[in-house]
């Protein structure tokens, strides 16, 4: 089977969805006749014509508003906001209009739209063309945020995004566009399902998008040192498939979260170390596994927590509790209060 390039995966997904559903339209800046600045959307204009695929002015507010209005009246628009850095301009229509429609209208209508953007650093584009906006929108109820890690995933996940009845931000890492890989095994990946990109026993590395190939490379390196790392590919930042993450961490007892993507983990190393005698991490490693230690310190300093911790430790010493609550190792949380409250549900 021939290898699929990431940019072609995106274009093929768009073409197949435009073909499948007449309600799908695609518009943005330089996307139609020019075929996109990253040459992702070539040939769509020629194939589907100016009623379905068209260029717009450089007007991100209007673009997002138009996508919302079209989605609210029966179309399924896909728009391209060229660089994720421009997403600040789209926020009113996406946050106040699209994301709230389903709830505010008491489920009369939702806004099934997709906003594709190129994100991430590494292209030497500078400070205003290198950001990843996923975390900017992570606290917005009603929005979904997808971020594929491979060509296969890009194609199936974009199809999933277009078929989803909710507004979806779709992030495409610039450094992935030229990556080639096998075609997808599944036609559509529904949003909200994480995947185990590599199985392992000693450590769970959680990432998304371009972070996943990075994590896989790291896992390969760790394997050379005799450490078996599991890589969880979240696929969507929102909704967050916490079940898959927690199930993995419950087995490995250690989690490394890719902080570049707004992921944070804390207390994990400490707890995991306590939980698995003989695999205790030394202080330096604990800090490494705990990228947010400065933030966490304030909470850890709290008297009640310290008291509880010491009591638990002394109880363990006295042999009254055979195993500490290892699930606490999975104290993996996000800046988003919604997700934090999700974590609170876990006992």
């Amino acid at each position: 089977m021939s290898a699929l390039e990431f940019r072609d995966a995106i274009r093929d997904a768009l073409a197949e969805e435009l073909e499948r559903d007449p309600a799908v339209i695609f518009f943005g800046e330089d996307v139609a006749a020019p075929g996109g600045v990253f040459k992702v959307t070539t040939e769509l204009f020629e194939r589907f014509g100016p009623e379905r695929v068209f260029d717009t002015p450089i007007s991100e507010l209007a673009l997002a508003g138009a996508a919302y209005g079209a989605a609210a009246t029966g179309l399924r628009p896909v728009i391209e906001v060229m660089f994720g850095d421009f997403m600040g301009l789209t926020m009113d229509s996406l946050v106040n209009q699209a994301a709230k429609l389903w709830y505010v209208s008491a489920e009369q209508r939702s806004a099934p739209l997709v906003v594709r953007s190129a994100v991430g650093a590494g292209g030497r584009f500078g400070a205003m063309h290198s950001q990843t906006h996923g975390t900017w929108f992570q606290g917005v109820p009603g929005l979904k945020i997808a971020f594929p890690s491979s060509p296969a995933e890009a194609k199936a996940l974009l199809k999933g995004a277009i078929r989803d009845d909710n507004p979806v931000l779709f992030l495409e890492h610039k450094r992935l566009y030229s990556v080639k890989g096998p075609p997808p095994e599944r036609e559509v990946i529904a949003l909200g399902e994480a995947a185990i990109a590599r199985a392992g026993d000693d450590l769970t590395i959680v990432s998304i998008g371009k972070g996943v190939p990075d994590a896989l490379a790291a896992a390969e390196e760790l394997a050379g040192e005799g450490i078996s790392a599991e890589v969880v590919d979240l696929r969507t930042l929102r909704p967050l498939d916490l079940q898959t993450v927690l199930a993995s961490v419950a087995r490995t007892n250690r989690v490394l979260a890719d902080r570049r993507l707004g992921l944070r983990a804390t207390r994990v190393g400490r707890r995991a170390g306590a939980a698995r005698p003989g695999r205790r991490l030394d202080r330096r490693h604990r800090r490494d596994a705990d990228p947010l230690q400065p933030d966490a310190r304030g909470r850890l300093r709290s008297r009640r927590r310290r008291h509880r911790r010491e009591r638990a430790r002394s109880r363990r010493r006295r042999g009254r509790v055979a195993e500490p609550r290892t699930n606490a190792a999975a104290c993996y949380y996000w800046r988003s209060p919604a997700v934090q409250s999700g974590l609170r549900l876990r006992s």
Partner: protein, 325 residues
């Protein structure tokens, strides 16, 4: 042919009596909401559109049921004019489960898909953006999308970006500016460079007009022409309807910043009075008008009673609806 022509004035009078009924409905509705607000039944705030009825009614008279309308946070009139029945709308204002949005939208954010109201937007200019997208759908369906927005919105990026885009894409949109001369508490002229809202359309090579927004006939005529142009592929139009709000910006605003003479001048040009006088001139009887007014008043009375008796939404039902599945 002669018969048709002879019949026209009578039909027109009946049509405008219908328009007047809508205006009266909006006025009675706003009066009732004002009263309910003072009684503590309307939660949060509310923005009343009394005084601006001729714009909403005149615009919607020129539309078909399946055309789209996007309203503002002063949008009760937009909803009523487009066809939302008063009962679920009053209930919505009171946050009741029987509201058109189950009490979730409240006063500012009403959506009524069935009647083509795609939304009312709490952010100034939001309706303009939504209309551009709705016009993309309308273009396929042979329909039209109308944005209501205030004079404040013409200084938002939305206004310029969307008028430009609508013109470039030749979308069937009508942009209706309800110029009530105040953006919240600030006089329009002091924050609007050039002071000429309709004139801004010239920069986009878009047809535009300044209208007496208190004259139902004038609004209806101009909008009909704009709608006709939009439907036949002629692209968008900007209409500046000059009008005045009888209340302050919101329920926390007694509007002390407006000169007394100015308020009196506009109150003397109350759109309902003007329409009533014109209807009498056109041969509609006083009796017929009074009968219409009584019907509308009864409708509102019934709607208020029903809304007050309706239950509040069950909070347990609210949490599960973040996503459509």
């Amino acid at each position: 042919m002669a018969n048709v022509q002879a019949a026209q004035p009578k039909d027109a009078a009946a049509m405008f009596l219908g328009g007047y009924a809508r205006m009266h409905l909006i006025r009675e509705f706003e009066t009732a909401i004002h009263r309910l607000f003072l009684a503590g039944e309307v939660h949060g705030t509310t923005h009343l559109g009394a005084g601006q009825e001729a714009v909403a009614a005149g615009v919607c008279m020129a539309l078909r049921p399946d055309d789209y309308v996007a309203g503002t946070y002063r949008g009760h009139g937009h909803a009523l004019a487009k066809g939302t029945p008063p009962e679920p709308l009053v209930a919505e204002m009171l946050g009741r489960a029987t509201g058109v949005c189950g009490g979730r939208a409240g006063s500012m954010n009403v959506v009524d898909v069935e009647h083509g109201l795609i939304g009312c937007y709490g952010i100034v200019g939001g309706s303009i953006a939504a209309t551009v997208g709705a016009a993309m759908s309308a273009k396929r369906q042979g329909g039209v999308a109308v944005a209501f927005f205030g004079d404040g919105a013409v200084n938002q990026a939305y206004f310029h970006e969307c008028l430009n885009m609508a013109k470039v894409l030749l979308l069937p949109a009508v942009f209706v500016c309800e110029n009530n001369f105040y953006g919240e508490f600030t006089p329009m002229g002091s924050v609007t460079a050039g002071g000429d809202i309709a004139g801004r359309a010239r920069a986009y090579d878009m047809p535009s007009a300044v209208l007496d927004g208190n004259d139902l006939w004038a609004v209806h005529e101009a909008v009909s022409e704009a709608v006709e142009r939009a439907r036949s592929g002629g692209g968008p139009t900007l209409l500046e309807c000059q009008t005045y709000r009888h209340y302050g910006h919101s329920k926390s605003d007694p509007a002390p910043y407006r000169p007394k003479e100015e308020v009196e001048r506009w109150l003397a040009r109350d759109p309902l009075k003007l329409a009533r006088t014109r209807l009498l001139e056109e041969g509609v009887t006083e009796e017929r008008i009074e009968q219409t007014e009584a019907e509308v008043s009864a409708l509102i009375e019934h709607a208020v009673a029903a809304a007050l008796a309706a239950p509040y939404p069950d909070p347990d039902q609210l949490a599960a609806t973040e996503y459509r599945r």
